[in-house]
């Protein structure tokens, strides 16, 4: 152990606070080092001198302690009582405000204190929300869609009208055919009547020659 290391350990050595193995090393060093022995001697003298300092006499006035304690506890008690009174007053004030419905409001350079239920405050209606303009491509797309729908409607209408015309034409053809048949039947009946009348008027003559057969 070096002298420096030894002197670092000496204060705890002289008070017996070194671990035994360190104390043994230090003892070995001290046996061969006069300077560290002198250092140890000074420290032991110092510790011994401190231990022999006379003990000062002190006194305590017990009744004074009880009197002062009572005074301080009374003061603390008063402080707590005052604090409780203030807290009660504040609580009562809050309850009054809540149950009596005292309305206090300020603004426009004046304060208003009113009792009772406060008037409903008219809230301004929220501003109308302006629609955000749609982009041009979207408008064009909508127009295209509308045009397509219109075209579909026109096509459907044309198809319906065409079907109706076709039905009308077919009906007309049917009517014409029946007129034709009835006209042919009427003509044939008329021819028979005429032939019968010619034969009756002109016996022996051929109604198709147009004169008397002589």
């Amino acid at each position: 152990m070096t002298c420096n290391a030894a002197r670092e350990q000496l204060p705890l050595f002289v008070t017996g606070d070194l671990p035994s193995e360190v104390a043994a090393d230090l003892t070995t060093h001290l046996q061969s080092c006069a300077a560290c022995q002198r250092e140890e001697g000074m420290l032991r003298r110092l510790v011994s001198g401190l231990g022999q300092l006379p003990e000062p006499e002190t006194s305590v006035d017990l009744p004074a302690i009880f009197r002062e304690a009572a005074r301080q506890e009374q003061r603390v008690g008063r402080r707590w009582r005052n604090l409780a009174l203030v807290a009660t007053a504040v609580a009562a004030g809050i309850l009054l405000l809540l149950f009596v419905k005292v309305e206090i409001r300020g603004g426009d350079g004046q304060w208003v204190i009113a009792l009772g239920t406060p008037r409903p405050v008219e809230k301004p209606s929220p501003p109308a929300v302006q629609p955000t303009p749609e982009p041009a491509w979207k408008q064009f797309e909508e127009k295209l869609t509308a045009l397509q729908e219109n075209l579909d409607l026109v096509l459907q209408d044309v198809t319906q009208r065409d079907g109706a015309r076709r039905q009308e034409i077919a009906a007309l053809r049917g009517s014409l055919e029946s007129v034709k048949q009835s006209a042919g039947a009427a003509l044939a009946a008329t021819q028979r009547d005429v032939s019968a009348m010619y034969a009756a008027l002109f016996p022996g003559r051929n109604p198709t020659s147009g004169g008397e057969d002589r």
Binding site: L43, V47, A69
Partner: protein, 192 residues
């Protein structure tokens, strides 16, 4: 930690319980038991006997006022030492300490009883050197040398690691030795 053992006929904890229940005789017994020890402790930490008496009075007043806060979680002595330590520190911050001790040493006969003039002078030098130590070093010297508290108990009381306190204690002793050497304390005679 030293102190009155809880195994004594009436333990400190029992006396505190009786004090909490409003028994002034129990508190008086506690004061009689602890006043000499706390008086010495405060005197070492805070200066001459007059101040120590004031501090002692203040300590037991604080103890009485704090009686309802006492719980038996730790030992009574540790609680009392903590109160005393805080009181001494507060007193130091209020400035009622070392100058008065040093003034007393300069002004005339010491209030510390002594036998011989030379011994008295040495003791005054020692007391002054102790008084001049920084607060943290003085506390650890007083607790170790006068209260005979070990470093582990001291660590619990001060909330500082024991290794730190050992270093602090060693530094304090070296500082005291250098101060006294400068004042002409002779080195011990070497054995031949």
């Amino acid at each position: 930690m030293t102190g009155v053992a809880t195994g004594s006929p009436t333990s400190d904890a029992e006396l505190m319980r009786r004090t909490q229940r409003g028994d002034p005789a129990a508190f008086a017994q506690l004061v009689r038991r602890w006043q000499p020890k706390m008086g010495r402790f405060l005197a070492r930490l805070a200066g001459p006997a007059a101040d120590a008496s004031d501090l002692c009075q203040e300590l037991f007043l604080k103890l009485y006022l704090a009686r309802d806060r006492y719980r038996e979680a730790g030992t009574f002595s540790a609680w009392l030492y903590r109160l005393a330590l805080n009181l001494a520190r507060d007193a130091q911050r209020r400035g009622r300490r070392w100058p008065r001790l040093l003034e007393a040493a300069d002004e005339g006969p010491s209030q510390w009883p002594t036998d011989e003039p030379q011994r008295q002078e040495e003791q005054e030098q020692l007391a002054a050197a102790l008084a001049e130590l920084p607060e943290a070093q003085r506390e650890v010297v007083v607790l170790r040398l006068f209260e005979e508290m070990n470093f582990e108990a001291m660590a619990r009381l001060l909330g500082t690691p024991a290794t730190t306190l050992k270093s602090r204690f060693a530094a304090a002793l070296v500082r005291l030795k250098e101060r006294l050497s400068a004042q002409g304390w002779a080195e011990p005679e070497m054995e031949t």
